[in-house]
């Protein structure tokens, strides 16, 4: 019953196919009703599973965090700190012993030899036994002394989830020092910009005259623009799928194969290949849809 492409449909909706494979599958989809149905079913399953909301009262989260932070933390860094104290003690003892031996050897030498060599070795034992000189932790006594205003330990705000709130499913960068570029609030702006760029690209592509000498350069430019837009298109489509924005997701879904086709054009495409893509753009009325949606999104943002 299943067509041989069904497995590839699964990879296609996950954005896991190469541009060439994706193009092949998208072409197949145009002529295979079974696969088109499979794609719709897979996307429907996705929305069912991703729309699942955890039963998580807000107080549970805050209580859990408080409980974890109240436990004697033995995090990697703190382990290191206590270990280093151990190492520091051993190092201090070793250096003291070495200093003692050196001291004794000097004590046994003639006084004139000691006078010529004493300043160099005698300075070392007091300077070396710092347990962790590079550690920036505020808890360590040395850094407390060096920093007159130590940072408070827990300053991050504990967010209270609203009742019924669905938590963001978009994975965020774990590393907090890296500024986030794709916060949900920015997604609309990015989508609007993306639509504008895609619209410009498709209009330009529609106007390329293949018989003119500059056509090859123009096609090369459109091709590189399409390549730039594909990745963003996939990201935004996933985002729209997750947030249940069906209209945007469907528009991005229609746009993707067209971008792929343009991105995969040869250096000097023949008239037929270009005509097929243009017809597809016309048939889907995608330029107008992009225009309408980008305007609507821009208005919503205003």
């Amino acid at each position: 019953m299943n067509c041989g492409f069904t497995e590839k449909i699964s990879s296609l909706i996950d954005g896991e196919l190469s541009a060439v494979e994706a193009r092949e599958v998208e072409r197949h989809l145009l002529s295979c009703a079974q696969c088109e149905e499979a794609r719709a079913d897979f996307l429907n399953l996705r929305s069912q599973i991703s729309g699942f909301e955890a039963s998580l009262p807000g107080e549970v989260q805050n209580r859990a965090l408080a409980k974890i932070l109240s436990k004697p933390a033995a995090s990697g860094a703190r382990h290191q700190w206590s270990w280093n104290w151990g190492y520091g003690a051993v190092a201090f003892a070793s250096i003291a012993i070495v200093a003692l031996i050196i001291g004794l050897s000097f004590y046994q030498r003639p006084p004139e030899e000691v006078a010529s060599k004493s300043p160099v070795p005698m300075a070392s034992p007091t300077a070396t036994p710092t347990p962790e000189p590079e550690s920036p932790k505020p808890e360590t006594p040395p850094s407390k002394e060096s920093q007159p205003q130590p940072k408070p330990r827990r300053t991050a705000p504990v967010r209270e989830p609203k009742p019924g709130e669905q938590f963001a499913t978009v994975p965020r960068n774990v590393q907090p020092v890296v500024p986030e570029t794709t916060r949900p609030a920015d997604t609309q702006t990015m989508t609007a910009l993306h639509f504008e760029r895609a619209e410009t690209l498709l209009r330009a592509f529609r106007n390329v005259r293949l018989n003119e000498p500059s056509a090859a350069a123009e096609v090369r430019y459109e091709r590189s623009r399409a390549k730039q837009l594909i990745y963003q298109n996939m990201m935004l489509r996933r985002e729209a799928d997750t947030s249940g924005d069906v209209q945007i997701a469907s528009l991005l879904d229609s746009l993707e194969p067209i971008l792929l086709d343009i991105a995969n054009l040869p250096d000097e495409p023949d008239n037929d290949t270009v005509r097929v893509i243009r017809e597809r753009v016309e048939r889907k009325n995608i330029v107008a849809l992009l225009q309408v949606n980008s305007t609507a999104l821009a208005r919503a943002l205003d």
């Binding site: 497995e7 896991e16 729309g51 955890a54 998580l56 859990a64 965090l65 974890i68 774990v174």
Partner: protein, 177 residues
């Protein structure tokens, strides 16, 4: 620069809800147990691995540990926990909008019921893909399997769910007519 605890708090706020959801789906809807295991996973992270993992690795580490804990739970007796969880669920205060709550619950139960029919590895791979949006490579990293296995598992999971879903729809429509 934020202190270790601040960074940990931020990670917790970001991923605790996701981890609870992942575990709840994996465990067939046992929400209180999912919350406990999510807390335990974070506790382990805080006590053993925090500060030693490369940036960005903590999330994968959490999913790996949480999944192992869930597998341990599968091995234990199910009935006792299920009964306990249902009692806890029943004791919860009523929702503000009962109709909406009913629909949400129906939908949740359907999703959970369907997910429970899948083998554990397929279910985990599919959840990490659909809910957490991890790539095949990242899922392979969490589950310690190859990307090609992840691809096949996800496809099989989808194909199986699709078939069951259409059967359900057929049965429902036969019931109506």
């Amino acid at each position: 620069m934020a202190s270790q605890d601040d960074e940990f708090t931020m990670l917790f706020q970001d991923f605790y809800p996701s981890l609870c959801r992942f575990l709840e789906c994996l465990l067939g809807g046992r929400a209180p147990l999912a919350q406990d295991l999510a807390q335990e996973s974070f506790l382990q992270l805080h006590r053993t691995a925090w500060g030693t993992l490369p940036p960005g690795e903590a999330r994968f580490w959490l999913y790996r540990v949480a999944r192992n804990m869930a597998i341990n739970e599968f091995r234990k007796s199910h009935t006792r926990y299920r009964l306990f969880d249902r009692v806890v669920e029943a004791m919860r205060p009523a929702a503000r909008n009962p109709e909406q709550e009913y629909e949400t619950r129906e939908r949740k139960e359907l999703v959970l019921e369907m997910l429970q029919t899948l083998p554990e590895d397929q279910r985990t791979a599919l959840l990490l893909r659909e809910q957490e949006q991890l790539s095949y490579r990242e899922i392979g990293q969490v589950l310690n399997v190859s990307e090609s296995k992840v691809k096949v598992d996800i496809f099989r999971a989808r194909a199986a769910l699709r078939e069951r879903w259409s059967k359900k729809v057929r049965v429902a429509s036969a019931g109506v007519s």
